[in-house]
């Protein structure tokens, strides 16, 4: 964390500046390809009240929630297991890192062939994106637990299960949470991406459909919703993250 304090006034000015740029771009490009910020917000509000929109929102929400749950559980189990065992960690960690850096989009057709065109494929794809950062951060967090805490646990005669539950996990929580925060974002990216490629429901599907219909209102409103939701949630998680790290 940086010693200098944040410049929130500056941040607000930059945000305002971006909105002004948006408005200016609208004035230059015109109605054919863009909407103004105000129009976009108004249309997003309309959209949220439309009954026909709700099923798509619910579909994406459900897929995202399920993917996040799977990503978290998988990431924690893999991360703690690999973090506690040095050889297993050394064997599998580089594989996770490699998986992290490849364009996973191209794997989506394989998931579609395995799960069929439906919510399961999206969930699997979201989880595939999300579990990696959770696992990687958990591995490091568990590895970096100060040896003195483990010694203390031994002196207090903790068994293996109690050691994980009472010492390793709580000591690693701040780092694990950072992994969860990034996992949250990547799960969302994966879920939406899956919907954009092939899906019959959900926000990503609507977004791609709108290109064909040249529905600029819909594209801008949904993009705005996704960005606002992602940025908002990420800010909240980041705040919690920083609080957890301040403890030590």
């Amino acid at each position: 964390m940086k010693a200098e304090s944040a410049n929130w006034v500056g941040t607000i000015w930059i945000t305002v500046g971006l909105l002004v740029l948006w408005q200016a771009a609208y004035l230059i490009v015109g109605d054919l390809a863009l909407r103004s910020p105000l129009q976009t917000v108004a249309f997003a509000y309309e959209l949220l009240r439309k009954p026909s929109f709700a099923p798509h929102l619910v579909e994406t929400g459900k897929a995202f929630a399920a993917a996040l749950a799977i990503a978290t559980a998988m990431g924690l189990v893999i991360g703690i297991t690999l973090g506690l065992s040095k050889p297993a960690g050394e064997v599998f960690e580089p594989m996770l890192v490699a998986l992290y850096s490849i364009p996973k989009v191209t794997l989506y057709p394989i998931l579609l062939l395995m799960f069929g065109l439906g919510i399961s494929a999206k969930i699997a794809f979201g989880a595939l994106h999300g579990f990696i950062p959770v696992a990687l951060f958990t591995i490091n967090a568990v590895r970096n637990v100060k040896p003195i805490y483990l010694k203390t646990g031994r002196v207090m005669r903790l068994g293996r299960a109690a050691m994980v539950a009472k010492v390793v996990f709580p000591a690693a929580v701040p780092e694990i949470f950072t992994g969860l925060r990034i996992g949250f974002s990547l799960t969302m990216i994966g879920t939406v991406l899956g919907e954009m490629f092939a899906s019959q429901k959900g926000l990503g599907h609507l977004l791609m459909n709108a290109i064909g219909l040249h529905n600029v209102d819909l594209i801008m409103a949904i993009t705005l919703m996704l960005v606002v939701f992602a940025a908002g949630m990420s800010s909240v998680l980041l705040m919690i993250d920083r609080r957890l790290h301040r403890r030590v």
């Binding site: 010694k151 203390t152 031994r154 002196v155 207090m156 709580p170």
Partner: protein, 273 residues
């Protein structure tokens, strides 16, 4: 091979030796021993020695955190294996407070692992808080405390387990000189109040001279006991002891024995670096 144990002693070490096997062809290091030593029940025993002489290894062996290569250790007549014995408490030099728990929960940490009742835990923690002067800080987190207070939390955490033998590895090593003197005084008070046997590792000669009934002086690596010095202090001593001539004599004797050993140790470290 080893001699007969003195069964009246609280702790007995016979021929205790520790050799660290080098990994992948690196040479083995003979770190410790052989050491023969008996600790009397209720005494305050300190160990001083040059750096790298195996003091901490000796404590880890006693604690059951490390296995001996040769010889054996008996605590209350039972051999120490790879596990922590009943009635043994350990305080480390490093800050071992768990930062995610309050002072209260840190102190209760060990007790929670036993089947002690909630009420009993509360009573014991309260009394340990009072004894260590932490009463007002039960709800604080370690990050809000000074180094000296955090070390008190670690001592209190050990005390609530009501150990009969307390092992301390340089517990005041990270504190400033004045805080150390006062913490030493406090430790003496706790020792009198609990009646436990204390085994203290330190590199500070004055600390050993002020606190201990007997002081074991260790040689450079491999650490052996060169001499055991009886201080002859009364049980109700405190830090004002440092003003006396006898205190000076004890410290002087410690340095007389240790000077040569420390030089060996420094020259060896210098040659290695």
């Amino acid at each position: 091979m080893s001699e007969q144990h003195d069964l009246t002693a609280h702790v007995g070490l016979r021929g205790v030796t520790k050799v660290f096997r080098g990994a992948d062809g690196a040479p083995s290091v003979h770190a410790l021993g052989p050491i023969d030593l008996d600790l009397r029940r209720g005494e305050f025993f300190a160990v001083v020695g040059p750096s790298g002489c195996g003091k901490s290894t000796l404590l880890e062996v006693l604690a059951g955190l490390s296995q001996v290569s040769e010889g054996n250790v008996l605590i209350e007549g039972k051999p120490v294996g790879g596990d922590i014995m009943d009635g043994v408490g350990v305080v480390f030099q490093e800050d071992a407070c768990l930062p995610w728990l309050t002072v209260y929960d840190n102190i209760a940490f060990g007790l929670m692992q036993t089947d002690t009742s909630r009420a009993e835990i509360a009573t014991r923690v309260e009394s340990a808080l009072t004894m260590t002067g932490l009463s007002g800080f039960a709800g604080s987190y370690p990050a809000q405390l000074s180094g000296g207070m955090r070390q008190r939390v670690c001592i209190a955490r050990t005390l609530v387990l009501q150990p009969r033998l307390i092992l301390l590895d340089e517990p005041f090593g990270a504190l400033d000189q004045q805080t150390r003197l006062l913490m030493g005084e406090e430790l003496l008070r706790l020792w009198r109040a609990t009646g436990a046997t204390i085994f203290l590792i330190t590199h500070a000669l004055d600390e050993a001279a002020m606190l201990a009934d007997r002081i074991g002086i260790m040689s450079a690596r491999p650490g052996r006991l060169l001499e055991i010095l009886e201080t002859g202090w009364s049980r109700d001593r405190d830090s004002r002891l440092v003003e006396t001539a006898e205190f000076g004599a004890v410290t002087a004797r410690l340095w007389q024995v240790l000077r040569g050993e420390s030089m060996k140790s420094i020259n060896r470290d210098g040659a290695r670096a």
